[in-house]
């Protein structure tokens, strides 16, 4: 089996930057990713990435992808890593389509996935009214009533994406306050179509063949209500995509990978974690990109010491 110097898992800002830095150091590198979309690609507009104000998420990802393809680096797209195993001083990377790769070092840059609501009806109605991507699916809700679950930034952004289409938009938030940025709150409060409901816990999504109603519990009055609804957009945050290294590297209580921020090294020498997947505060594209660079340079040093 071919032996790589470095395998990068993930094709977001951290993984792509790590790839560019590794290629410039002439490391024999493989980047494995499901796609070049991720969290960034599903974001409508990005205003806080340096040099490219107002760019759409998918355009930014296209630029990242073009950039990395300028370098000599092997890419396996449409591959999901399901396990990383330690093999003496090396690591074995296994993918869902049963490919195996051997490497001296690993950078984990898999970012985060949408957090599921975990109520009855959610899984059954994915694509039939339940969606995690408002910019993708909003046009199907012309003149319909929709619920957005979650009162954070992504919930408010989803509600605003739906404005053009839906006739009524309910935002359901479980806690007693909105945590979205003030600028988004102001925009949403101006719109008559948007109704914000605090202290409401969604219990069930119901329907026949498609979403027709939603059951929620009022945490203050302790009463349960049913509201007719055609769509549910789940926006209750994200969870780190770390299942494939469980037991191999140390996690914090939120399942984020613990790293030493001087080098992005994990508890397992030779494995590094960069971007949203690690236990760093503030998940931002520019931070992820910066950590990707740091991790790749740390890998270079690690390999020098290894030989």
């Amino acid at each position: 089996m071919e032996l790589y110097d470095l395998i990068i898992i993930g094709g977001g800002p951290a993984g792509v930057t790590a790839g560019i830095y590794a290629a410039r150091k002439k490391l024999k590198t493989l980047l494995v990713t499901e796609d070049f979309i991720g969290q960034v690609g599903k974001t409508g507009q990005i205003d806080n990435y340096l040099g490219l104000p107002g760019i759409s998420g998918i355009e930014l990802m296209e630029k990242f992808k073009e950039h990395i393809k300028k370098f000599e680096i092997e890419i396996q797209e449409a591959e999901k890593v399901v396990r990383v195993k330690k093999e003496k001083e090396f690591f074995l990377i296994k993918t869902g389509s049963k490919k195996n790769f051997l490497t001296k070092s690993v950078i984990i840059a898999t970012g985060r996935d949408p957090r599921p609501l975990e109520v009855p009806g959610e899984k059954e109605f994915i694509g039939q009214g339940v969606s995690y991507c408002s910019i993708c699916d909003a046009p199907f809700f012309q003149d319909k009533a929709v619920a957005v679950i979650g009162g954070g930034n992504s919930g408010f952004e989803a509600a605003l994406d739906l404005l053009k289409y839906a006739k009524r938009i309910f935002i359901f938030e479980r806690s007693d306050k909105i945590i979205a940025d003030e600028i988004l709150q102001e925009e949403a409060k101006k719109e008559k179509k948007i109704e914000i409901h605090l202290n409401k816990e969604v219990k069930k999504i119901e329907g026949r063949g498609k979403v027709q109603s939603l059951l929620y519990h009022d945490l203050k009055t302790k009463k349960t209500f049913q509201v007719p609804i055609d769509g549910v957009f789940v926006q209750i945050g994200t969870i780190p995509a770390t299942a494939f290294v469980k037991g191999l590297v140390e996690f914090n209580e939120a399942d984020e990978i613990k790293v030493d921020f001087k080098t992005c090294q994990t508890s397992c020498p030779g494995i590094f974690a960069a971007g949203d997947v690690n236990d760093g505060k503030w998940k931002q594209i520019i931070i992820a990109a910066g950590e990707g660079a740091r991790a790749a340079l740390a890998v270079y040093k690690y390999l020098q010491n290894m030989n």
Binding site: I37, G41, G57, E62, I135, C136, K210
Partner: protein, 79 residues
């Protein structure tokens, strides 16, 4: 020659990837922007029961989402 239709919206990331994939493999397709064409959107929902894009129609058969494996099989694309 397969008759291929892509139901999509301009900003949906998986639609962009799907179209890129088809172009890469020299597949000609007709693009239907459901955000501009409510009638086509309704028709798509009726035929597939899906309120999500991308949806691909290959000779009358529908594929929901960017399902690389199934699409490759239906279009005889080797990966």
């Amino acid at each position: 020659m397969n008759k291929v239709k892509v139901y999509s919206t301009p900003v949906c990331p998986y639609c962009v990837s799907l179209k890129e994939f088809l172009k890469k493999h020299n597949v000609d397709f007709e693009e239907i922007d459901v955000s501009q064409n409510q009638e086509a959107a309704r028709e798509m929902v009726e035929k597939t029961g899906q309120m999500a894009v991308p949806v691909l129609e290959i000779d009358g058969e529908f594929v929901v989402g960017f399902d690389r494996k199934r699409i490759s099989k239906l279009l005889n694309i080797e990966n």
